[in-house]
């Protein structure tokens, strides 16, 4: 057991020492003969050698011994430091690390005897005048080293003889030396400490609150001291997670060196700011992307010496690596003085690969064009080398950086070089977050995804437009999709009366920009990110949770996950798809839920009208008169057998072991329709609808080539629940009905259905003339009319005048294919999209100056 521990310690320590050696050798190449560096390298090998002897790893001992001899000669000035020597030491280093890996994996050295390397080392030693080191020196050198160079950990080789004496100090003494002020701590312990400090901060907050209200001056002083100590403790513990970026830069000089020799380039790596500290988890996450960027700079960025000379540059190319703090972020820059990125070439590449159309490519500015390198599957390297250019690269880099809340920026000038700038948060454990409310719950939005906060009141809301895809916001010259958090997370929308104010957070993630509509925006705070349990891992729209000052828990939204859930395309994708020939995108089509019920084998209902699909175990349903009830989300849900309502069957569907229920909701009120089974959700358009006389059905139409029945949900609900249509708006606003102007019966009925489902009574008028006449009589709060109209005439002018004088808004519903509706009409809402229609109407009430809902306190 003890041996195991000693070996473990030996491995950790050796790896630490040796990782430093690589850098030191490279530094030595710059400054040959630097005694300090040589001494340090010597010590590292010496320690490994000593411990190997003690632990009985004979082969490693032999190799390190030879290397040590070589180094001793270098240190004592008996030998010149040449690139050949450097390579030899590096090779030895690799071998030693390889062996250490073998010991870690198997507990023993590998079978490889490394005779080649040993031979090389011996030859190198023999070649020079200096005599090959006799074994006797082994005894001498450690002693010398210990004297010269201060605390070399326990003269390992001496311990060899007394290994049986079990002198564990040989290894342990290292950590006891005074000059090494660091200790190794298990990161899990640090994480636990951070958790506990977080707890302490909460307790502190509570004490401060009660201390202030208590009022005793003594208590106040104690609370104040507790406050100071806690703050300092928190800072200290947080810092213990920090590591200098230099720890991941260690490997890079070697990488550059090897890459350069492979590519026959001459490259100098300059580093600056290796001491910049940041959270070690982030550091780990940055390592691979950084390596990739650096490789790219060496491979694609820098030219070969002849090309450079021809361009009037020094033959040696320079890559500089910088790190520094900027606010609560760490910036890392990789800059080369190579050929730069040519936007023209990227444009033509993008067109060639079919990523962009020629027109779209030409429309890109030079600055934007270079960002094409982040596009998936994009590689402009003319020849594929084994270093880079396989087409997986910069897009992955960007994704990785973004996944830890960072950003990648790119600057490049043709002929002079490229600079890649990575911005990363200092720590993942504590992030600045925006605290918001929606539907009675508190959420946190990571600040790194936040672009802007908007508060729209009154007429400013005209920036919100309705489209086929839903609500859009006109923002900085572009249209961005709007997502209401209440709807996205199915929160209760009655929890908070927004009045005529819209709070919108403009968010960006993975290239997608959208506006998130929230009930309230509260404050920005530094929050401690806590992971969610594994049970919730599939809920990708949550990034974690945090504990607020009052001890309550708030979920942290994952903006990228939310965008994916809401199917918001990234801008790049969107612009690409709109350019590809006039084929309708999927989003244009409506989704229908297909199900079987009684004698109907293929019934459908627009998915937008369905709240949820649930399967209840039959045992949970209780019979009540002509229907059933089930406990559902803290309330009783009434369930009716749809087949019975439609008169197409009995209550067979209730006899299944699990009852399939379609839940329809309006505000707080919900009802369940039990059906036989759910078939599918399909996208498609309503083609060739023909009205049907069957009760509860709206029409028969063709969906994706198959005849399908469309459910008349409004009339079904009327039968199923007589109080269903008791309108919700009655409580909220004056109850004037909405006028529907539609010439086709199908459209009129579905519009009425959607409106009544939203709680608005509606009256249908068939023609334009009738519409105008009804307007004259008044008593309506809005007009919803089918667009385009088929009956032309002067009535349109009259309608316009009436609308303007009375302030009654006129909305148009129809496909946006033909002529656009005149500007005095509000928006154009796609048909069969009841959500957009209802949202549009709801927004308009808030715009009306005489609305009874103004004056709500925020």
């Amino acid at each position: 057991m003890e041996d195991q521990e000693i070996i473990q310690d030996f491995l950790i320590e050796s790896n630490q020492n040796l990782s430093r050696v690589e850098q030191e050798i490279l530094a030595l190449e710059e400054r040959p003969g630097d005694g300090q560096i040589l001494g340090s390298i010597f010590r590292s090998f010496h320690t490994v050698k000593g411990t190997c002897g003690f632990l009985g790893f004979g082969k490693l001992e032999r190799i390190t011994h030879q290397a040590e001899n070589l180094l001793a000669e270098l240190r004592d000035g008996k030998r010149q430091f040449t690139p050949v020597t450097a390579s030899l030491i590096l090779e030895t280093l690799d071998t030693v690390q390889h062996e250490l890996g073998a010991i870690e994996a198997t507990g023993n050295e590998s079978d490889d005897l490394h005779t080649q390397l040993l031979l090389k080392l011996q030859r190198a030693l023999a070649n020079e005048d200096a005599p090959p080191a006799p074994p006797a020196t082994t005894e001498k050198r450690p002693a010398q080293a210990a004297v010269d160079e201060s605390p070399v950990p326990g003269s390992g080789s001496d311990a060899k003889g007394e290994a049986d004496g079990g002198d564990g100090d040989v290894v342990l003494s290292k950590s006891n030396t005074i000059t090494d002020p660091t200790i190794r701590v298990d990161t899990r312990l640090v994480d636990r400490l951070i958790n506990l400090v977080g707890e302490l901060v909460l307790v502190r907050n509570q004490v401060l609150q009660s201390g202030v209200s208590g009022g005793k001056s003594e208590d106040k002083a104690i609370a104040h001291r507790l406050n100071l100590i806690t703050t300092e403790l928190q800072e200290g513990v947080m810092r213990s997670r920090m590591q200098p970026v230099g720890t991941i830069w260690n490997k890079l000089p070697r990488l550059v060196r090897d890459t350069a020799s492979q590519l026959q380039k001459d490259i100098r790596l300059v580093t600056d700011g290796a001491n910049t500290e940041m959270d070690r988890t982030i550091l780990e996450a940055v390592k691979d992307p950084l390596t990739h960027i650096l490789r790219n700079s060496c491979d694609h960025g820098l030219e070969t010496p002849p090309v450079r000379l021809a361009a009037g540059k020094p033959a040696q190319g320079t890559v500089s690596l910088r790190a520094y703090h900027e606010g609560s972020q760490v910036v890392m820059e990789v800059e080369d003085d190579g050929r730069g990125i040519d936007p023209a070439r990227l444009r033509s590449k993008a067109v060639e690969k079919g990523i962009l159309t020629a027109a779209a490519a030409n429309a890109l500015s030079d600055r934007d064009a270079i960002y094409l390198v982040f596009h998936a599957g994009f590689s402009t390297a003319e020849k594929i080398t084994n270093i880079s250019g396989r087409g997986v690269g910069m897009d992955v880099v960007k994704k990785n950086i973004q996944s830890i809340g960072g950003q990648v920026e790119l600057q490049s000038t043709v002929g002079t070089g490229t600079k890649v700038k990575i911005r990363i948060p200092l720590t993942l454990a504590i992030i600045p977050g925006l605290i918001v409310n929606s539907g009675n719950q508190t959420f946190v939005i990571p600040q790194s995804h936040l672009i802007e906060l908007l508060r729209m009141q009154g007429e400013k809301q005209s920036a919100i437009e309705m489209s086929k895809e839903g609500a859009l916001l006109r923002w900085r010259g572009t249209l961005v999709p709007l997502v209401d958090l209440n709807e996205a997370l199915q929160l209760s929308s009655n929890a908070f009366d927004r009045g005529d104010v819209r709070n919108i957070a403009i968010l960006e993630a993975e290239g997608a920009t959208f506006g998130l509509v929230l009930d309230r925006i509260r404050a920005t705070r530094e929050i401690v990110v806590k992971p969610l349990g594994k049970q919730l891992k599939r809920m990708t729209w949550y990034a974690g949770a945090t504990i607020l000052g009052d001890g309550s828990v708030a979920l942290i939204l994952d903006v990228a996950g939310l965008a994916r859930r809401e199917r918001i395309a990234s801008r790049g994708e969107a612009s690409a798809s709109t350019d590809t020939a006039g084929e309708g995108t999927i989003a244009d089509k409506k989704q229908f839920l297909l199900f079987a019920c009684g004698s109907y084998t293929r019934l459908s209902v627009p998915l937008a009208l369905v709240d949820r699909l649930e399967k209840f175990p039959a045992a949970q349903l209780e019979r009540m008169a002509d229907s059933w009830v089930v406990q559902y989300r803290g309330a009783l849900l009434r369930v009716v057998a749809l087949a019975k309502v439609l008169g197409s069957g009995g209550e067979e569907c209730m006899e299944q072991k699990h009852v399939q229920v379609i839940v329809v909701r309006r505000g707080e009120k919900a009802i369940g329709l039990a059906v036989d089974r759910i078939i599918d959700v399909q996208q498609g358009e309503v083609t060739a609808p023909s009205p049907t006389s069957a009760s509860g059905l709206l029409a028969t139409y063709v969906l994706n080539g198959v005849a399908t029945e469309l459910l008349d949900l409004a009339s079904v609900l009327e039968v199923a629940d007589p109080v269903w249509n008791q309108p919700r708006w009655m409580a909220k606003a004056e109850g004037a009905p909405i006028l529907i102007g539609a010439h086709s019966q199908f459209m009129a009925t579905s519009l009425r259905q959607y409106l009544e489902l939203g709680g608005y009574p509606a009256t249908v008028r068939g023609s334009g003339e009738e519409l105008v006449k009804s307007m004259e009589n008044g008593g309506f709060r809005a007009v919803v009319m089918e667009w385009p109209t088929t009956d032309s005439g002067s009535w349109m002018e009259t309608l316009k005048a009436r609308s303007e004088s009375s302030g009654i808004p006129v909305f148009s519903v129809g496909e946006a294919t033909g002529d656009a509706p005149p500007p005095w009409m509000s928006g154009l809402c796609p048909p069969h999209d009841c959500h957009s229609l209802l949202r549009m109407l709801e927004l308009s009430w808030h715009e009306q100056p005489a609305s009874s809902e103004t004056g709500v306190s925020q």
């Binding site: 958790n195 929160l491 806590k530 504990i547 309550s552 828990v553 979920l555 045992a619 949970q620």
Partner: protein
């Protein structure tokens, strides 16, 4: 083996005492929007956020009366931890490994899935929870809902 028992509806459940960290009285839960009924909320326990798993919902039992508050049985095994919501806590009992039998054949679905066996208490069957399984329960809306989204 030593088992902590608790009541969930008509079912008597038990978990090995080794993986029961503590039992708490009712705690306020933070609801998780869009989560399945089996995972109704989050719980804050000394700096850690735990998912609450409602055993009534897991076992397809009727929901608790709105007046009664569940107790929290904090269960931890390996890397996984969660708070099981039960109606009330029972007692700590010794169960002979030999006395553990396979669940009765008429138990189907979740009762079978999340138990590692049953044992006869004087008056009732004791369902021994498979802690690893129940802690690994995944919250997602049912399959049909996934199709929609």
């Amino acid at each position: 083996m030593t088992v902590v028992t608790f009541h969930v509806g008509s079912v008597l459940c038990g978990a090995e005492v080794d993986c029961v960290q503590e039992v708490l009285r009712h705690q306020e839960l933070t609801p998780i929007p869009l989560a399945a009924a089996a995972t109704p909320g989050l719980l804050h326990l000394r700096g850690q956020i735990l998912t609450a798993i409602d055993l009534r919902s897991v076992f397809d039992l009727p929901a608790r009366d709105s007046g009664t508050k569940p107790v929290c049985v904090i269960v931890r095994k390996g890397e996984l931890a969660a708070s099981l919501l039960a109606d009330r806590i029972g007692e700590v009992v010794e169960v002979e490994p030999d006395a553990i039998e396979a669940p009765p054949t008429h138990w189907q679905g979740p009762m079978r899935e999340y138990s590692r066996g049953v044992t006869d208490r004087s008056d009732q069957l004791l369902l021994l929870l498979d802690a690893m399984r129940i802690l690994d329960i995944e919250s997602s809306q049912d399959a049909s809902q996934d199709e929609i989204n």
